[in-house]
């Protein structure tokens, strides 16, 4: 148990889509991680406080309802300010509207979230195996 990497996860803003997050947690646990869940409607502040409290190795933000970009404004900076250096990930529906989900829009959306401080960005549909592979790589497990 001791050497398990600890992941902090939650759904940001006013979003209550919890189903995907539950599945994500199950998959991460199966992949050998310790998972700390903050549930839904998690504010930036709550993420930051929990990250400090739990000494998490990474923060995994979920957002489904399309308004995540507004909710994530200044997130990277706030983390820096709090002295948190662990990598920040986001996955889900990263914009409002099906026209925004086209593969052609992905690079632009990813870039926008990277600028907000996210290390890696996963617009839906997410390949969880791929994500876990990259996460392990980043965390050197």
């Amino acid at each position: 148990m001791a050497d398990k990497k600890r992941l902090l996860t939650g759904v940001i803003g006013y979003d209550i889509h919890y189903g995907g997050n539950v599945i994500l947690q199950l998959a991460l646990k199966d992949a050998g991680f310790e998972v700390i869940s903050l549930g839904t409607q998690v504010s930036q502040k709550e993420f930051i406080e929990a990250a400090i409290e739990t000494n998490a190795d990474a923060i995994l933000v979920g957002t489904m309802y399309g308004m995540g970009e507004i909710d994530c404004k200044g997130f990277g900076d706030a983390l820096k300010e709090a002295g948190i250096k662990v990598p920040l990930y986001i996955g889900g529906n990263l914009a409002v509207g099906s026209d925004q989900m086209d593969a052609s829009k992905k690079p632009e959306i990813i870039k926008r979230f990277q600028e907000l401080g996210f290390k890696r960005v996963y617009p839906n549909p997410v390949d969880l195996e791929q994500f876990i592979k990259e996460l392990k790589q980043d965390l050197k497990v």
């Binding site: 979003d15 309802y65 099906s98």
Partner: protein, 485 residues
């Protein structure tokens, strides 16, 4: 990290009883004061306004007609924040999609009373020329804009705002005639609120609907249970809808749409719809609400949709078939873009037209009698009755109080619910024959036999399909509908 306040530390200072006029108007005043537009609403004027509307724009009359004629009214979902744009959309849905009822859902900020955030996003959307809000900010719109939306269409509008009472005030004032109900359902929308808060808010919402109805403007409440990424859990859904209906009826709601959600199995859809109607009838009568008129509403697969339009079209047509055979008066459709994001108008129109075609094609057909379907119905009724009776017992006869206590111990439980007050022990899955079963019955007050029945069915499937872990089963259930064909 975030924990629920234990029940012992919470006060349940209310009952399943009609809210007094005083309390009702006092509460309204508080709510309407939350944003400047609140003062635009004058109840008497609103009722007069409704009475001046053509009858064809009232959902209740239309549902009654559908019941008489045996037709299924089609209805899309949706909502965006730019009124001009949304007027165009709704007209398209009505004229090209032949939608019988239209919808305007409030956005997630509005639902959470963050009118400040909604205002900013609305202003920004106007600048951008595209909606950054995922619904309708009724409160920020104010009465004039809200009415402009509804005046632009010829069919009834569903104001779908849940326990979001301020939005509902506006949607009602603007001419909407049907609303999202769902007392227990709403809990999931406010994950940090204890159930008593949600139920209390729902009472206010229902009371407002009842008020309109009492003053000659029939309003329908759409009672439906929570949904998640995969199957609905039947008996729990039935029990929830009935609890919702009872709480709503107590406040004076006289027209209730019992919402039945697609299972992907036509026969279980029918069994559930019949169970729901039969049991709702029994309980409404028993609780003194025999005068409430219920309708059956059907809802396309509310769980995760495939991100491919063609695949989505398959599920949409299946929903339409089920809606017909359940005998529903209304079907809430999903757009082909459901699995992607807020839909394009073409995608909604497509679903509407496709649904109507299927409904037309099966219009005259009846489901042949089958004892297996009847047995399935009986099973659902038996399970739901166990839940309902336990709830009444826990509340000493008060269904609202009983529900709160039941949620606390997981006698009522929502799979995948975001509420921190939810037990989260119950999960659905299907068996080897494609029937939805309980993967876990959690603390549901079921008999050993029932628990055994579900367990056996699930174990059977695990063997047949060679799946060992439960969570793999859950992922398989979701991905079997969403993955590439």
């Amino acid at each position: 990290m975030r924990v629920a306040i234990p029940l012992s530390q919470r006060k349940l200072n209310f009952k399943n009883e009609k809210i007094s006029d005083e309390e009702f108007f006092g509460e309204r005043k508080k709510i309407l004061g939350l944003w400047p537009t609140g003062k635009e609403i004058d109840l008497d004027e609103c009722i007069a306004y409704h009475k001046s509307m053509p009858k064809s724009k009232n959902a209740v009359y239309k549902l009654q007609q559908a019941k008489k004629e045996g037709t299924v009214l089609t209805q899309p979902r949706g909502g965006i924040c730019l009124v001009d744009e949304y007027v165009k959309w709704l007209k398209l849905f009505q004229d090209k999609g032949k939608a019988d009822i239209l919808t305007a859902q409030s956005d997630s900020y509005t639902r959470n009373k963050r009118f400040d955030k909604a205002q900013t996003a609305w202003e920004e959307s106007k600048k951008l020329g595209r909606s950054t809000l995922n619904g309708c900010p009724w409160v920020n719109w104010g009465l004039k804009e809200s009415r402009r939306l509804i005046e632009s269409i010829d069919v009834p509008l569903d104001g779908r705002a849940g326990t979001d009472i301020f939005s509902m005030e506006f949607a009602l004032a603007a001419g909407a005639t049907t609303f999202l109900g769902g007392v227990l359902n709403s809990g999931s929308y406010y994950p940090k609120d204890p159930p008593e808060k949600t139920i209390r808010e729902m009472q206010q919402v229902s009371r407002l609907q009842g008020y309109y109805t009492e003053h000659g403007v029939p309003i329908a409440s759409d009672s439906h249970a929570m949904s998640g990424p995969s199957y609905p859990v039947h008996s729990l859904e039935v029990a929830q809808v009935i609890i919702d209906s009872l709480i709503e009826a107590e406040q004076g709601v006289k027209y209730i749409i019992l919402r039945c959600r697609q299972t992907m199995n036509l026969f279980q859809d029918v069994a559930k719809a019949r169970a729901l109607q039969a049991l709702a009838g029994q309980y409404m009568k028993k609780c003194g609400h025999g005068d409430v008129e219920t309708f059956l509403g059907f809802e396309d697969w509310v769980a995760a949709f495939p991100p491919d339009n063609a695949q989505a079209a398959g599920l949409v047509a299946m929903g339409a078939m089920s809606a017909h055979f359940t005998g529903a008066q209304n079907i809430m459709i999903k757009s082909l873009d459901e699995g992607l994001g807020l839909p394009t108008t073409e995608s909604v129109v497509f679903s509407l037209r496709e649904t109507k075609q299927v409904l037309n094609a099966v219009k005259h057909q009846k489901l042949p009698y089958s004892k297996e379907v009847e047995d399935e119905q009986k099973m659902i009724m038996k399970e739901a009755t166990l839940i309902l009776e336990k709830v009444f017992e826990m509340g000493d006869g008060d269904v609202a109080i009983g529900s709160i206590k039941a949620i606390d111990v997981g006698v009522i439980d929502h799979p995948f619910s975001s509420s921190v007050y939810n037990a989260g022990k119950v999960f659905p899955t299907r068996d080897a024959n494609g029937m939805v079963r309980y993967l876990n019955t959690g603390n549901l007050p079921f008999t050993k036999e029932i628990i055994e029945f579900h367990r056996e069915k699930v174990e059977d499937r695990k063997k047949v399909e060679k799946i060992e872990k439960d969570y793999k089963l859950m992922i398989e259930d979701i991905t079997s509908f969403t993955r590439d064909v």
